[in-house]
């Protein structure tokens, strides 16, 4: 059995003939925390959406937790979850009501106890009776994270998990994610624009530009390879294409070779 939790091969998606993702091939190892990086429009959200089954690819193959995501996504969706500050939970429901509804959708046993526990762990117990729409952006982010952890997912996909959080809250969440992963052995794939976060919690980075995979490696490897001192500088160099011309077939092949399981 492959040790990869996500295997993507030749993944492509076009909207009206314009490619958003263009032939992505990569894998994500079990138990890793991997960052999916790129400037706005690089194809991160489109890739995450395809991995989640919210978007049907134009071409390519996606295997998640050993299942073909295009044919059998309902076999794996119960073992996955997702959080994004850009996808809301119903505003008029209280936090507790939202978590109970989602807990039931995921078939959680003893849902009220589970909600109480996760609320305690994420420090949102005082928010449970408040309407979700009345929360601050940071509070909503924490509630969305709680929702994404209700089913103790084997695979957690996150779109900017600490966006809108103050530095202290963001730090708490990162620590929680690290502890969660150590405890459960879960795999985390996150899109982020926070390079310090990536350096701290991600062991692996996939860099995208214009829907293509342009580089991949551990943060320290990427920093060294690009001759920079931080991931922020690596990100900017790749986003601005400062380190060379757009990826040609050879460099892309090389990147894909590195990405292969």
């Amino acid at each position: 059995m492959s040790d990869a939790v996500i295997e993507v091969e030749g993944l492509a998606k076009s909207f009206g003939g314009v490619p958003a993702v263009d032939g992505l091939t990569f894998s994500v190892a079990r138990g890793s925390t991997t960052a999916l990086l790129g400037a706005n429009g690089a194809g991160k959200t489109t890739t995450l959406s395809m991995l989640l089954g919210l978007l049907i690819p134009s071409a390519g193959r996606i295997t998640v937790l050993g299942e073909d995501m295009l044919r059998h996504r309902y076999r794996v969706l119960p073992r996955m979850n997702f959080t994004s500050p850009y996808v809301d939970l119903p505003h008029r429901l209280t936090v507790a009501q939202n978590l109970i509804v989602y807990g039931r959708l995921y078939g959680i046993r003893n849902i009220k106890a589970r909600v109480a526990r996760i609320a305690d762990e994420l420090g949102i117990t005082p928010l449970l009776k408040r309407p979700t729409g009345n929360l601050s952006a940071g509070q909503k982010t924490r509630v969305a994270l709680a929702k994404s952890l209700l089913n103790e997912p084997d695979l957690l996909l996150m779109d900017e998990p600490t966006a809108s959080l103050d530095p202290e809250s963001a730090d708490t969440i990162r620590a929680y994610l690290v502890a969660y992963q150590r405890r459960t052995g879960a795999t985390i794939l996150l899109a982020s624009h926070n390079m310090a976060e990536v350096e701290r919690i991600c062991g692996d980075v996939i860099m995208l530009r214009a829907g293509r995979l342009v580089d991949r490696g551990q943060p320290a490897e990427l920093i060294a390879r690009h001759g920079r001192s931080t991931m922020e500088e690596v990100f900017l160099a790749i986003a601005r294409n400062e380190d060379g011309p757009p990826p040609d077939e050879a460099t892309e092949r090389e990147a894909r070779k590195k990405a292969a399981p």
């Binding site: 959406s49 919210l54 505003h91 009501q97």
Partner: protein
């Protein structure tokens, strides 16, 4: 991991119940939504109740079946409420931009469809039921006296409302909330050919053919047969049920097909206005 039940089953009443619970929470937490449910059926019933009282003193036809207009109003409202019940509950997911979360959960689109239908039933019972009770108080007319035929009419109109609601939800899923006003008006295109207040035979012949393709025309013809002639026409009920089966199948197929289109076009994450 051991927190979840076996959630890979193809159809789960548990998941349908979870979504129904979500809509009940919403309804329970918002008194304007509850008032809205009973407001329009009540206004209609009061208006046509007084009209009936007036006509009773003027025409002998209405004297034969004094409750026919009020019954027609209440039955029409069952159709309208059931369609709105499906459409508006779906719109709530779009207003709250919640579809992205829902459809990365194990919830199947057809389970969502079932939850919408169940909530439509609840809303219709509250709305039309409330107005029906008020009719007893105001006009001493009880639509419940119709007995079994009422149940049959209710089921036929509910199913037609469901199918129209699913079709409207599909249009809005595909084209966004800019199309939501359709939910309030589409049903009125059926009103002239449903024969709510008049028999289908008064329509031009070609329009009669159109009318009989619509389940509601059979229901209202059936209602008049019961109230004016004292006959329960099982042929009309059979026609209505067969057409309902077709409409409901088409409604669910369109809803599921549009869901697939939404997945292809990436509408589920960014759905909204």
């Amino acid at each position: 991991m051991n927190v979840s039940r076996n959630v890979t089953v193809a159809f789960s009443p548990f998941r349908v119940g979870a979504l129904v619970l979500r809509y009940l929470y919403l309804l329970r937490g918002s008194w304007p939504r509850i008032v809205e449910l009973v407001y329009w059926p009540t206004v209609q019933m009061v208006l046509w109740g007084f009209m009936t009282k007036f006509l009773l003193s003027e025409t002998s036809l209405l004297a034969q079946a004094s409750g026919v207009l009020i019954s027609a109003v209440l039955l029409w409202d069952i159709l309208y409420r059931s369609q709105l019940g499906v459409s508006l509950m779906f719109f709530e997911e779009m207003y709250s931009r919640n579809l992205g979360h829902l459809f990365v959960s194990p919830l199947r689109p057809y389970e969502m469809g079932c939850a919408l239908l169940l909530m439509s039933l609840v809303r219709t019972l509250i709305g039309a039921g409330g107005a029906s009770m008020l009719a007893i108080y105001l006009y001493h007319f009880s639509i419940f006296d119709l007995g079994f035929p009422l149940l049959a009419f209710f089921a036929c109109l509910l199913a037609l409302g469901w199918s129209l609601g699913l079709m409207i939800a599909s249009i809005v899923m595909r084209f966004g909330l800019g199309a939501e006003s359709l939910a309030w008006v589409v049903i009125f295109a059926l009103a002239p050919v449903s024969g709510i207040y008049y028999p289908i035979r008064v329509l031009p012949e070609w329009l009669q053919a159109v009318a009989f393709m619509i389940p509601s025309s059979h229901v209202f013809e059936g209602m008049r047969a019961v109230m004016i002639d004292g006959v329960f026409r099982t042929d009309l009920l059979r026609n209505a049920l067969l057409l309902d089966a077709l409409y409901l199948t088409a409604g669910m197929a369109i809803f599921l097909g549009t869901f697939r289109v939404a997945r292809r076009r990436g509408l589920l994450l960014n759905i909204g206005e």
